[in-house]
Amino acid sequence: MKGFNMKTPPLKSMMKYLIGTGLIVSTSASAITLPPRFYERTLLGVEAIPILGISFNGNINPFDPTLGDNSNSHIPQTGIDDIHLEGTMALAGYSISFPIQDRSARIAYLQPIGNMNVTATGQVTSGRSTISNVPIQYYSTNGVGDPFFEFTIGLFGTPAMDELPKAIRYQPGFQMDLLLDLSVPIGEYDSSQAINMGTNRFWGRVGFPMMLQLGDVWAPSKRASLEILPAVTWYGDNDDMYVGGTQSTDLGYSLGAHLTYDLSQHVWISLDYSYVKSGDYENSGGANDGSFDGQDFSSVGFTVATDLTRNLNASLGYQTTINDDGPGKAQMSTFSFNLTYYWADILDGLSRTGFKF
């Protein structure tokens, strides 16, 4: 007979999905949009440690896209045709979800660390011959970047999942959050250096992450979603530029979009798109004064994600700019590898007492 049994299929492994797989970390950088399924809501009280490794390569600084635009305005212009940035970064942090009224909220802290280098290339004339694309300047930096805080709160859709029954039933349907980001300029910055890990200015962002569930089932192996994040980015002034003076930047805009789909119970993929229009800016009081247009570029890419264990998710992503062949066009390719470890007291307790999930 079918008796009451905690091992019956509905109970046996549902715990695994209480948290969802959405805690894949933000890259937390203004030029790199947040990863897919980042705004999937979770059981309140879930804590997470995300670790994101990024390798980038291009002609703009992904941590500050106002730097490295088509006029290469932050680098002395003498004989420079082009610049090339590359770097390896890690972002590690912490996030926790909690309720505000009946709404689901989350706060996250992320800390960038790593190294970057920039190579400026130009023409070199030797005797009768002129050679193009020769490295003529090289700068590098490493250390700790500006920490980054993010707060989100649900505006529409699923209310706070403050109980396990609500969490196991979670289906996004359509949901929209309010997102507030703030980056604090306490990372390493030296105005005598052409590039820095820190940006020497506050910047922040207001956005509205939206998630639309595609299909009528949101459960592992069945999930599909369309996610859109329109946002406005605000920049403080950098009053100690490399070449002296102050840089003031107008508002920037961005749009991120993801189309996600479960390939199987444990693997999902996403097609990613992002558009960034960084603010126009003005340099004053230094050697490179003037008004400049902000960057304007689109990227496409993909993400593959899986859950490695009950508590550990991983994803691998690639993004590259498109329509970037013209002179002065922004170019950037980014590989990212993300690990997120998450936990909640109740789930760990259930695990310790023998509940298999």
Binding site: M1, F4, P165, I168, R169, D216, S221
Partner: protein, 600 residues
């Protein structure tokens, strides 16, 4: 026997022809349509009119226009009940002594235990066709799959049926490694595939509507229609919005829901004031002590079950609206009931016992588990826990496959056609059985009962005269399924069940005071017990070909373990047959594509 059936058909044809020519009233007055609707594995309390919180407005409205019967019995399992419905006799005589999944070694090969309705029995389809009706069946058939046993061979002019007992509501997916495909027929042909956009309740309704419309366009003859829903049988598959319709509503747990239904049943007058709620099963905890997440997870089963019920009701409404729009509703006699008590046996888990080929089949095809959001979807198999089965069967004890009241007593709604004298919306307590329907329709159409010995009684007098009763206090009726035995005479009921459901001895209950079979009064009434046991053993079993099995499906219940393999089996016995089911392949010349019909 086959000759007997042919002779009856010839005689009936002549009688029918003479009736049509000799009786002006038959020839000139359109006979009432008959619509029989069955819900599969629905419990006594699962419709609003019988105290349920589940929304069944269509069925409730039919009940308001007609009568509710709270003392109506089926058999404990689906094939046996359908066999009795179609033949008017005890299922042990007619070929469905038990379902083929459960046939015991000593029953194997015995007449009456074929697992289908034997060919020589005249069916309701034959009976009504002979009375000048056009005959339709749509839904679950479960009375045999061979060419001579399918609806076209059993008196039905039009059919769209699933031949099997259960399986997916969305596809032909079954549960057996060697019988992976459910089989369907349509108008006498075995289907090579299902029609587009197939979902059991929707498609069965679409087909029934198309039959009715075709009939209206052509002959406009009175129809006999059997709409045999597969809902709410497991797997609990249902589309949105019904899949989410009851989300969270059963978090209160089975104890609270059962109590609420019990109170509502008293309020409605479905059960008498003296009725006590049956004991909760010894292996089912009080849901009050379960953690909220566990209640939510288990509640999902009932959410889906309720969703299937409401979805079925929604589709049934399409038929009722059609009848009203075409002016046929008043002239249609409608019967609605469940075919046996609710499922609570974990049958799917047994069919797919760990390590078997069926288990691998399950892993391949039914493994969308582990997340309650997958429940209700196509590759998930959810069935009711016994705690919910007890809710469905409220206030009774027992569920499907047992001769306890919860396994055999079901909700019956009858809306007679115009011309009958009855008080709409009233509740009657006549002791009735599903076999009676055949006899009633035979009487209605002035035909003799063609299938030999029966305990069935006609309802016609009762439907025409509120003071009339279907059975006297001396009439008895017996049941047997998987060695669960019972007999009722008047308000006395004896029952005998194997461990752990009983102790193999006969118990005696007085249903006049104890509907929930709580109090064994055999010691106080030894003479009554003796008399009824004597009737059971020397009349019921003998006259109805009851052979007790030397093995039963429930023999492993008491240790809640896997099926018993270790003793009493000879190689080749293939017991339990539910683990050995094999695909039957229809003749190629009888295969056809489905007709694409989708009604709005």
């Amino acid at each position: 026997m086959i000759n007997k059936r042919k002779n009856w058909i010839l005689t009936s044809l002549m009688v029918g022809a003479s009736l049509l020519t000799a009786s002006p009233s038959f020839a000139e007055v359109k006979q009432p349509n008959i619509l029989i609707i069955t819900a599969d594995d629905m419990g006594f309390s699962d419709i609003g009119a019988f105290g349920s919180e589940i929304q069944t407005p269509t069925i409730d409205a039919i009940a308001n226009d007609g009568l509710r019967f709270n003392n109506f019995y089926t058999n404990p399992l689906c094939t046996p009940t359908r066999t009795s419905l179609m033949s008017g006799v005890d299922h042990h005589r007619a070929g469905a002594g038990t379902m083929s999944l459960f046939t015991a070694p000593n029953q194997k090969g015995k007449e009456g235990y074929e697992g289908f309705l034997r060919e020589e029995f005249v069916t309701l389809g034959d009976l009504m066709k002979n009375a000048g009706y056009t005959t339709f069946v749509s839904g679950k058939w479960d009375l045999g799959r061979f060419p001579e046993l399918i609806p076209r061979a059993r008196g039905f002019d039009r059919d769209f049926v699933m031949l099997d007992d259960h399986g997916s509501h969305y596809s032909t997916l079954a549960m057996w490694a060697h019988a992976p495909e459910l089989q369907f027929t349509e108008d006498g042909k075995y289907l090579t595939e299902l029609p587009d956009n197939y979902y059991s309740s929707r498609t069965y309704t679409d087909k029934m509507l198309s039959f009715m419309k075709d009939n209206k366009k052509n002959d406009d003859k009175p129809f006999f229609a059997f709409l045999s829903y597969q809902a709410p049988h497991d797997p609990l598959h249902v589309d949105e919005p019904w899949r989410s319709m009851y989300q969270g509503q059963y978090d209160k747990g089975w104890s609270a829901v059962r109590l609420a239904r019990y109170k509502k049943q008293k309020e409605l007058g479905i059960i008498p004031e003296f009725t006590e709620l049956a004991e909760r099963y010894w292996y089912v905890p009080d849901s009050e002590m379960l953690a909220p997440i566990v209640r939510a997870a288990l509640g999902r089963e009932m959410e889906l079950y309720a969703g299937l019920m409401t979805n079925m009701d929604h589709h049934l409404n399409r038929v009722i609206q059609y009848l009203k729009e075409t002016g046929e509703y008043d002239n249609t006699m409608i019967l609605f009931f469940g075919d046996n008590g609710p499922e609570g046996n974990g049958t799917f888990e047994k069919i797919t016992t760990f390590g078997t080929k069926n288990y691998i089949f399950k892993a391949r095809n039914w493994s969308d588990v582990g997340d309650i959001r997958l429940q209700g979807t196509e590759n998930n198999y959810t069935e009711l826990d016994p705690g919910w089965a007890q809710v469905s069967a409220s206030p009774f004890f027992g569920h499907k496959d047992f001769a306890f009241e919860g396994g055999i007593r079901n909700a019956l709604v009858v809306k007679p056609a115009k011309g009958f004298e009855f008080k709409p919306g009233s509740i009657r307590s006549d002791f009735m059985h599903v076999q009676d329907i055949f006899v009633t329709l035979a009487e209605m159409t002035n035909q003799k009962f063609p299938n030999g010995y029966t305990q069935a009684k006609s309802w016609l007098a009762m439907l025409n005269d509120p003071s009339s009763k279907v059975r006297t206090a001396d009439d008895w009726f017996g049941w047997e399924s998987g060695n669960s035995r019972a007999l009722r005479r008047g308000n006395w009921k004896i029952s005998n069940n194997i461990k752990p459901w009983g102790d193999g001895t006969w118990k005696l209950y007085n249903l006049e005071k104890d509907l929930s079979e709580r109090y064994d009064v055999s010691k106080e009434n030894p003479e009554i017990l003796k008399e009824l046991v004597n009737i059971y053993e020397n009349e019921y079993m003998v006259k109805n070909n009851v052979i007790l099995g030397d093995r039963t499906f429930h023999e492993s219940d008491w240790w809640n373990g896997p099926l018993r393999f270790e003793s009493g089996n000879n190689e080749g016995d293939e017991y339990p047959p539910g683990l050995y089911k094999r695909q039957w392949v229809p003749p190629q010349e009888m295969m056809a594509e489905p007709k694409q019909v989708e009604e709005k």
